[in-house]
């Protein structure tokens, strides 16, 4: 009994060596300047957080989900805090693809170093197809993230994400219409995440992103009412990280597709855990709300770690756990 062992604090690791680690990474042939991205729905289209961080420093901005027409979303309360995280049931409120193409895309194009990944949602396969085709007209959009796993909308969405055959069908259908590579966003609310990953791969998906939020519930014991109008909400935040890391690892073992990993990432240490588990890039989600500088701080922390351990290329870390 000589005292417990825990990880040392990473931030002590940075030093002033002259060489610079190569942070570049790629997903489905798209090259990113670094692996730090934003989780759909937590970062809008970047406008709000542009006040806090230089969007040009991010690997990519992954936008809030956009549908073929405006969606009003769910009634309030839509969010609630839980231990180490939060629940949300926004219900994919969005202004629709027309406004998005006129307003959000031009805004994001200003940041030339940062790639644009658009999250696509719909209630029917045709909804998705419509949006995917519209986005095909815009070469500045590098990658499409297909949201088949939002737990907060009644129709469509999650239905496609919890059955392997449904996921296979929508994936292969979208591949026929997509000009950009498509990345299927997987739901963690399944018995076997690898079954879903294999279905997406078999259907021709170019990449996978995981995890979406985990369905949770909070009850106000004093009013004896649900904390969220939708009753259930998607859980995010540091509390879910071990579940997300496990699923990223399982998927990385099961398929060859590149993975955008996310789920409770708050620090560079968290981000590196996902990369070691097999993620080619990572997204920061709910923690943007807690620390609006999180994305850039995580980027700097990853670089510090690579210097500390003399890792020349990010690719040397991807899936390097053993």
């Amino acid at each position: 009994m000589s005292g417990n062992n825990q990880n040392l604090n990473l931030t002590t690791g940075a030093n002033a060596e002259s060489w610079a680690p190569d942070l570049r990474t790629s997903i489905a042939g798209v090259e990113f300047q670094n692996p730090v991205m934003t989780a759909s729905g937590t970062f809008g289209s970047g406008m709000e957080y542009g006040e806090f961080v230089d969007l040009n420093r991010l690997g990519a901005v992954v936008t809030k989900g956009v549908a073929n027409v405006p969606w009003p979303g769910n009634p309030t309360p839509r969010v609630a805090e839980v231990y180490g995280g939060m629940l949300n049931a926004i219900g994919l409120q969005n202004p629709g693809i027309d406004v998005f193409m006129e307003r959000d895309i031009p805004f994001l194009k200003q940041y030339e170093k940062t790639k644009i990944i658009v999250n696509v949602c719909g209630k029917s396969v045709q909804d998705y197809v419509d949006v995917v085709e519209r986005l095909g007209e815009e070469p500045a959009v590098a990658l499409l993230e297909i949201n088949v796993s939002c737990p907060n909308v009644k129709e469509g969405a999650i239905a496609f994400g919890q059955k392997a055959d449904a996921l296979y069908n929508i994936t292969s259908e979208l591949k026929k219409h997509a000009k950009q590579p498509i990345m299927m966003k997987l739901s963690p609310n399944v018995t076997d995440i690898t079954e879903m990953a294999r279905a997406a791969e078999a259907a021709g998906a170019d990449a996978l992103s995981l995890i979406n939020t985990i369905t949770g519930m909070k009850i106000d014991i004093h009013r004896r009412k649900f904390a969220i109008a939708n009753k259930t909400g998607g859980m995010s935040g540091p509390a879910i990280k071990p579940i997300a890391v496990r699923m990223v690892y399982q998927v990385a073992q099961a398929v060859k597709l590149p993975i955008l990993g996310m789920g409770g990432i708050a620090t560079a240490e968290d981000a590196i855990e996902f990369i070691l588990a097999g993620a080619s890039a990572i997204s920061v989600g709910a923690m943007n709300f807690v620390n609006p500088y999180a994305t850039v701080e995580i980027l700097e922390g990853i670089e510090a770690y690579m210097r500390q351990y003399h890792v020349e290329k990010l690719s040397d870390l991807i899936g390097a756990v053993n």
């Binding site: 970062f43 979303g73 309030t76 969010v79 409120q93 202004p95 709300f289 609006p292 500088y293």
Partner: protein
């Protein structure tokens, strides 16, 4: 520009049962407008989201924020234990605040209910400081005789009080106080619980006067990104392109007629 900064507690005291009066030194105080709010962070890593709390006032040289809040859970309970000299994390300044210009030179009601009273103080101060000479009538609703901030408000205008238990002023709510005192106004600024705001909206409509009300809703980001804190609007709003305005960034203050409450 919005920032997350480290502020320093300069003073805190309990001014009514579980109502706390907290002063924080921070650069964010420089350009606060009445009715704006800040996101205050706990130090408890199990409770991560900022607590949105409206600014009560800023000191004369605009170096400190005053917030007056009620203990409503573990987060605010932690805040109430903060000591002078302690470093705290704040996100701000958030929201748009009250449209001061609508009150200039007018006969105004500043109406506050319970923990909705604090933001009225900075508003009263700035209106009274304005050359146009607005006539400020504060109508404040309390539970009981613990009429916190009443003296502060009296520096800037006449204060009418309503108490639920009738121990001070009119027995009842702020609407009862208006009737009992037979007072009128050209414009209303208000903050408080939803039933009060609904009553004010109805009153303003029947009087044909504008009412600017400050709304609240559960929030996550506080900066307009997450779309958690929306309110139904009469018109399709410019941002959402559906009938949903963001309380944190399009509000928290709305003209009562614009929102469905």
């Amino acid at each position: 520009m919005k920032q997350k900064v480290t502020g320093i507690v300069t003073a805190q005291k309990e001014i009514a049962p579980s109502i706390f009066d907290l002063w924080i030194k921070t650069d964010l105080a420089k350009d606060v407008k009445p009715g704006q709010f800040a996101g205050v962070f706990t130090k408890d890593k199990s409770a991560l989201l900022p607590r949105p709390i409206s600014i009560c006032e800023v000191n004369a040289d605009r170096t400190e924020l005053r917030i007056v809040y009620r203990i409503a859970g573990q987060g605010t309970k932690e805040f109430s234990g903060w000591q002078a000299g302690e470093e705290v994390q704040i996100l701000g300044i958030l929201g748009n605040g009250f449209p001061l210009e609508k009150g200039k030179g007018k006969k105004v009601f500043l109406m506050g209910g319970g923990i909705g009273i604090p933001p009225m103080l900075e508003l009263a101060k700035e209106l009274s400081a304005d050359a146009s000479g607005a006539e400020i009538q504060c109508v404040m609703g309390y539970r009981d005789a613990k009429t916190f901030l009443k003296k502060d408000l009296e520096q800037y205008g006449k204060v009418y009080v309503a108490t639920e238990d009738g121990s001070v002023g009119t027995k009842g709510n702020v609407m009862d106080a208006i009737r009992e005192n037979g007072i009128t106004a050209d414009v209303i600024f208000a903050c408080g619980p939803m039933p009060m705001l609904r009553a004010i909206k109805a009153y303003a409509q029947e009087q044909g006067i504008p009412a600017y009300i400050s709304l609240e809703e559960h929030m996550a980001c506080g900066v307009g990104a997450c779309l958690g804190c929306v309110v139904k609007t009469k018109e399709v709003d410019h941002h959402s392109h559906v009938h949903n305005a963001r309380i944190c960034t399009d509000g928290p203050v709305f003209e009562a007629g614009e929102v469905e409450i």
